[in-house]
Amino acid sequence: MSNTAGAISVAWSGVSVDLGGRTVLDSINLEVAAGSWTTIVGPNGAGKSTLLRTLAGTVAHSGTVRVGPANTSEPSGRNRARLLAMVPQHPVIPTGMQVFDYALLGRSPHQGLRFSASTKDRRSTEAVLDRLNLTPFSNRAVDSLSGGERQRVVVARALVQETPVLVLDEPMSFLDLRHQLEVLELVAELRAERDLTVIGSLHDLSVVGQFADRIAILDAGRLVADGHPAETLTSKLIARHWGVDARTEVDSEGAVTVTVRRRRPA
């Protein structure tokens, strides 16, 4: 299951995106070290999804996006799909497709022109489903699953892709507390096992500081802060960019827990 290519770094330099006449991303420069876990946070509409989509090559942009060692050109098509797997914020769920078949799609960048899946393809799909406790759902149609079950199936497809870079755009939005932790812990385990580079976006500030080793704050299309969770998840920055009152706590291992407080009239 391991990828022998070794960890891979990712970098945006001077990346800007205009959508519908608006500047959605404004010259972003960000480098994600090989094997790190970087999470992009920011208020709604900040441009997080757009930034992640530039990695997948599905949004027109200026500047350069690099996946792999310095001086490599932007990969395309199948090569990109072998380097980078994506869990989109709003996945398209095909009607009637069974969970196993859906997860198996992750193998497609590794297959040539073939019309049946190899035993290896099936094995690795089964292994991932098993690991996410989705085996009992194998024969269910994906569109018959609950929101959280679906989201785990989409994560499964990305893991089946076995890429050195894993991109997760809000993979937790429908998950209950236990499954949030389970998925994040699984990603952490796999990262250690396979030397993955993980890039994500998360709204939940309470967990983000315990998993990411680097946090980038995006607001209105600009990168406004970037660094270790303890430096970026501060009451001051949270108040400035989210407009909420939060208390942060850094434990001995450097993990940050954020508690948001309800605003009460004085």
Binding site: P88, G96, M97
Partner: protein, 355 residues
């Protein structure tokens, strides 16, 4: 906790077993429908003897069918070509229907979409009206001109939906197809009205029929059928990936627009060739893939091969019915496909709703 039974029923193992069982059922359906079709007709030849005669023609097998020379001639010169034609047309219609439905992510997409029916109709009308048979001599010109008409229509729809090198969305393509179809139908109606004495011949063509003069039609169809079937089988992987939409398909390493175009080309080629030799036989391309999906799920690894097989068997049986219910007269096969296809489909649909 996962129970042992759950595990046995789930995952890849169970899936591929299900697939293999249905694949064998499909092959069986093709063989049985072919034998039944060869056995039925004005001169009755017992099914057992037909089966033995067919087995005898397989390599390495020596089976004595004890048939007379006349019966052998009926089988090989009259009935077999028609059966093979029915198998090919049925497979092409159902296979291309499954591909169209996958490409457009719409279960109601039809192999005659994108102007194929209208283009072929115009071609056939022109060939009939202009009495091209007299010009060309031996070869029946109707299928050739119908085929050309179908390809011109699809090409026109494809070209019109491309702008400044950008391929349009599936919707643009369908709308272009509708416009092209209307335009071709308008011309066809005009030509037809100018030559009302040929109306009956034109309508007979439009209602669809499987009539053969020896192996000529089969020989005409085989090269296109081969290219199309191979193409459809190669399209299985891309079709499954296209199901998650263009953006995700490209994150899975597929170039969605190029893939969609390639699949449409092979599917249209097959549908156009089928329509050229058989006229417009409705329902097969819609109902067979749909029934298959209801039974085995939507993965094209199963939908494409099973649509090809069951489409072939279904059309062959429909042909048997069309030849026998009003013998010696023949009902148009398009009437039969709708007549037995619709109830059959409703039964499957109801069983599915029930479970």
């Amino acid at each position: 906790m996962t129970s042992k039974v759950d595990r046995l029923n789930s995952g890849g193992g169970g899936q591929s077993l299900l697939g293999i069982r249905w694949l064998l059922a499909g092959v069986g359906a093709v063989l049985i429908s072919a034998a039944v079709s060869v056995a039925s007709g004005p001169v009755s030849i017992p099914l057992g003897q037909v089966a033995r005669e067919l087995l005898d023609h397989l390599p390495l097998l020596e089976v004595d069918s004890s048939l007379s020379a006349a019966d052998r001639a009926i089988i090989w010169d009259l009935r077999a070509p028609r059966v093979v034609l029915g198998l090919l047309v049925g497979a092409l219609l159902a296979g291309s229907g499954a591909a169209y439905q996958g490409v457009f992510r719409n279960p109601l997409a039809d192999p005659y979409l994108l102007g194929i029916a209208a283009g072929a109709g115009l071609g056939a009308t022109i060939a009939i009206v202009a009495e091209l048979r007299d010009v060309l001599g031996l070869v029946d010109p109707v299928p050739l001109v119908a085929f050309a008409g179908a390809l011109v229509a699809v090409a026109a729809a494809g070209t019109l939906s491309v702008r400044r090198g950008q391929i349009g969305s599936p919707t643009t393509l369908i709308l272009a197809g509708v416009a092209v179809a209307n335009f071709f139908t308008a011309i066809q109606t005009f030509v037809q009205q100018q030559n009302s004495e040929t109306l009956q011949q034109i309508f007979a063509w439009i209602l669809g029929r499987l009539s053969t003069a020896g192996w000529t039609e089969v020989q005409l169809l085989i090269p296109y059928a081969a290219v199309s079937v191979v193409g459809l089988v190669l399209a299985i992987g891309p079709l499954d990936v296209l199901a998650v939409g263009d953006e995700e398909a490209s994150t899975l390493g597929l170039r969605p627009r190029a893939a969609r175009r390639a699949v449409l080309v092979v599917a249209s080629l097959g549908a156009a060739a089928a329509v050229a030799v058989s006229g417009l036989i409705g329902f097969v391309g819609l109902v067979v893939p749909h029934a298959v999906r209801l039974v085995v799920g939507t993965s094209h690894r199963r939908v494409i091969p099973l649509s090809l097989l069951f489409g072939a068997a279904f059309l062959t049986l429909a042909d048997v019915v069309s030849r026998t219910v009003q013998a010696p007269a023949e009902l148009p096969i398009g009437v039969i496909t709708a007549f037995i296809g619709a109830p059959f489909f409703l039964v499957i649909l109801r069983r599915q709703v029930g479970s």
